[in-house]
Symmetry: C2
Subunit: 168 residues, 2 copies
C-alpha cells in the first residue's frame, strides 16, 4: 500500500471479525513501531502482547472501552522505559511516532487498529497486571484485529490552510 | 512508495542539494501530518513555513544544528496549540504521530527531512521570531530538502525480541 494512501485512508477500527492475527503480523507491527525516530536514538518503546483470554479480559476491565479490548484478538500495550528516557516531551513524541508507524503497518497488512489512550488512567494497574517494573510507563494500548464488515467512521480534519500560523 | 518500505528506509537527511522544494510538496507534507490521529480528534498541531533567507538564518541561529537549518530550502516549525490541548502526554504523542507522517510523506515524495528537537531549548525565541501567541508551544522543527548525493547514515535499531517485555 502506498504510504500517502495509507496515511489518508487509515482509520480507527474498533470492531473486528473473529479471525486471529498471526504472530508474524504482530511482530511486523512492533518492528514498524521500532523504526520510528527517537531523540539520541534512545528507542524508549517497549511492548507487551496480549492474546490470552484471561489477561485480555482483565486488561479490558481497566478501560471504559472494555468492549473494544475484549473484542480484539490482540492488544499491544506500549510502554516508555524511564530508564532510557531523557526528556519527557521528546520521549512522548517518539512514542507517538512509534504508535503511528504501528497503525500504518496494521493498515498496510489489511488489519484494523485503534490507539487507546483513555486506559492511561489505569497505568499502574496495567503494569501490575503484567508484573512489569515501575520504570515502564504505560503510553497507550493498540487493539488490533481484522476489520468487521460495515462502516469504520473517520473524523474529518481541519483544512491545511487553517493549520498554518505563519509563512516566511 | 510502499508504506512498510517507507518506514524501514526513511532516514534523517541533513544535507541537501540547492534545489527548491515546491509549495505543493510542503503542503502535502503538512497535510500528511494533519491526518495523524489525536485524542478527541483535537488536532493540536500548527505549522509555520520558513523559506525566507533572513528568517531562515535567524531560525538557524537558535539551534546548535545551525548548518542544517541554514542549508535546508525549507523548514517547518511545528507547534502544539495549548488552547485545544487536553492532556500533555497525549497531545505530545499526537504531535509525534504528526511528525512521523510528515517524515514519511517527505520520504515518499523523494525529499529528505530531519526532525530537530534540540531547538526546543529556544522555544520562546522561535515563537517571538515568528510573532506567534504564547499558546503555541514549539514541538519540533522539520528541515526539508532534496537529499544531497552521498551517505545519509541511519542508526540501527534494537532487535524486536529485546523490546517485548511480556507476552500473554
Amino acid at each position: 500500500m502506498d504510504v500517502l494512501e495509507a496515511i489518508y485512508t487509515r482509520r480507527s477500527v474498533r470492531q473486528y471479525t473473529d479471525e486471529l492475527v498471526s504472530r508474524e503480523e504482530i511482530l511486523e507491527i512492533i518492528k514498524a513501531g521500532s523504526w520510528a525516530p527517537s531523540g539520541l536514538n534512545n528507542q524508549p518503546w517497549r511492548f507487551a502482547i496480549v492474546r490470552d483470554g484471561e489477561k485480555r479480559e482483565a486488561l479490558a476491565g481497566l478501560t471504559k472501552y472494555r468492549h473494544i479490548v475484549a473484542a480484539a484478538p490482540v492488544s499491544i500495550a506500549v510502554f516508555c522505559d524511564r530508564a532510557v528516557m531523557y526528556n519527557d516531551t521528546k520521549d512522548h513524541q517518539a512514542i507517538g511516532a512509534c504508535l503511528q508507524n504501528m497503525l500504518l503497518a496494521a493498515h498496510a497488512l489489511g488489519l484494523g487498529a485503534v490507539w487507546l489512550g483513555e486506559i492511561l488512567k489505569s497505568a499502574d494497574e496495567v503494569r501490575d497486571l503484567f508484573g512489569l517494573p515501575k520504570e515502564l510507563e504505560l503510553m497507550a494500548v493498540v487493539a488490533v484485529g481484522r476489520p468487521a464488515a460495515g462502516a469504520h467512521p473517520r473524523p474529518g480534519r481541519k483544512p491545511v490552510a487553517e493549520l498554518i500560523v505563519g509563512e516566511f
